[in-house]
Amino acid sequence: MSEHQAHEAHEEHTTHSQGFYLLIGAILLVLTATTVGAAFVNLGPFNPVVALLIATIKALLVVLFFMHVKGASEKLTGVVVLSGFFFLAILLALSLADYLTRSWR
């Protein structure tokens, strides 16, 4: 079956070209090498910040392009994804708001 026919079978075509996926994969590998390299440089309190920033960029690339949240035909999917990370943020922020403010005891 040719690609042309496959396209016609879908009203909405969500995948990207093979080259695009390979490019995203290459960027993810470069970011992995960057974060490993950064781990051996003493940045003081910024080591975890840099590591988590790079991890978040990698996670965003995977969610948006590999999991096709960007350009999804159903807008509700994006809302569900955001709500997941929103509740995770509540879990972490409120727990730390408690544990980090116990020093007065």
């Binding site: 079956m1 690609e3 026919q5 496959a6 016609e8 079978a9 879908h10 009203e11 909405e12 075509h13 995948t15 093979q18 996926y21 390979l22 995203i24 994969g25 993810l28 590998l29 992995t32 090498a33 974060t35 490993v36 950064a38 781990a39 051996f40 440089v41 003493n42 080591n47 975890p48 590591a51 988590l52 790079i54 991890a55 990698k58 996670a59 995977v62 969610v63 392009f65 590999f66 999991m67 999804a72 035909s73 159903e74 509700l76 999917t77 569900v80 994804v81 709500s83 997941g84 990370f85 509740f87 995770l88 879990l91 972490l92 727990s95 730390l96 544990y99 980090l100």
Partner: protein, 243 residues
């Protein structure tokens, strides 16, 4: 999920044919195939959100204990192999690429290419698990597995300055290490089983450009497990290293 008998027979129908007759993969309570696809994707994402919260609880525990026992966590983290961790990260990223290419092959109706990508994905997943196994073996040999034989005499190397740490606090680090990487490895094992099943069904011709939802949703699961590792790697292996 969608394994109704009607689905089984549709694989060999051509696309032109599907446009004129009722699509056998389309369940009667959906208006059209696109709506059915969107519903399946939304349901999968709701499941993935529960997974994010499940691992989120463990990340939260890690964060709180790391802040409370910083030196011991740093000393424990310095015992992990960055080389093996980075190798496994690369393996998972490459497997995520083969997964999206599998979805693309399914969308284009290329059956053999789809099966190849699924098989390569499973092999990459198994590679990850084997490397993880070697890491675990090293932990057993060094008595870094929490329990009655746990023994931790290493110090926290704070840029050349050796700081002794409490062995009980280091045991806490390794407990969290084993629970988090163990749950992640369990998800990898489930993923490998899932993708083996998908590869067999794809080989039998179950999927067509009109219906490949299990490939797409299996892919979403695989990517999420990849994302969890993307966070586990820096948090467990990297952030206490330096010089």
């Amino acid at each position: 999920m969608q394994n109704s008998p009607a689905v089984d027979g549709q694989a060999n129908l051509s696309v032109e044919h599907l446009e004129h007759v009722h699509n056998p993969a389309l369940l009667h309570h959906f208006a059209d195939a696109q709506q059915q696809k969107n519903a399946a994707s939304l349901g999968m994402w709701l499941f993935l959100v529960t997974e994010i919260m499940f691992f989120g609880g463990m990340f939260c525990a890690y964060l709180i204990y790391r802040l409370a026992h910083f030196n011991a966590f740093a000393a424990g983290s310095q015992q992990l192999s960055i080389k093996l961790g980075a190798f496994n990260t690369a393996v998972l990223i490459i497997s995520s690429v083969t997964v999206v290419l599998a979805v693309k092959a399914a969308e284009a109706g290329k059956r053999k290419l789809l099966v190849s990508y699924l098989v390569v994905t499973v092999l990459l997943g198994l590679t990850f698990l084997v490397v993880k196994g070697f890491e675990y073996r090293e932990k057993f040999e060094k008595h870094h597995v929490p329990g009655s034989t746990f023994n931790f005499t290493d110090t926290f190397d704070d840029n050349g300055q050796k700081i002794p740490v409490n062995s009980k606090e280091a045991e806490l680090f390794f407990s969290i290490y084993f629970v988090m990487t163990g749950m992640h490895a369990l998800h990898m094992i489930i993923g490998c089983g899932l993708f083996t099943g998908l590869a067999i069904l794809a080989w039998k011709g179950r999927y067509s450009p009109a219906y490949f939802t299990p490939i797409e949703n299996g892919g979403l699961y695989w990517h999420l497990v990849d994302i969890i590792w993307i966070y586990l790697f820096p948090l467990l292996y990297l952030i206490s290293r330096h010089s």
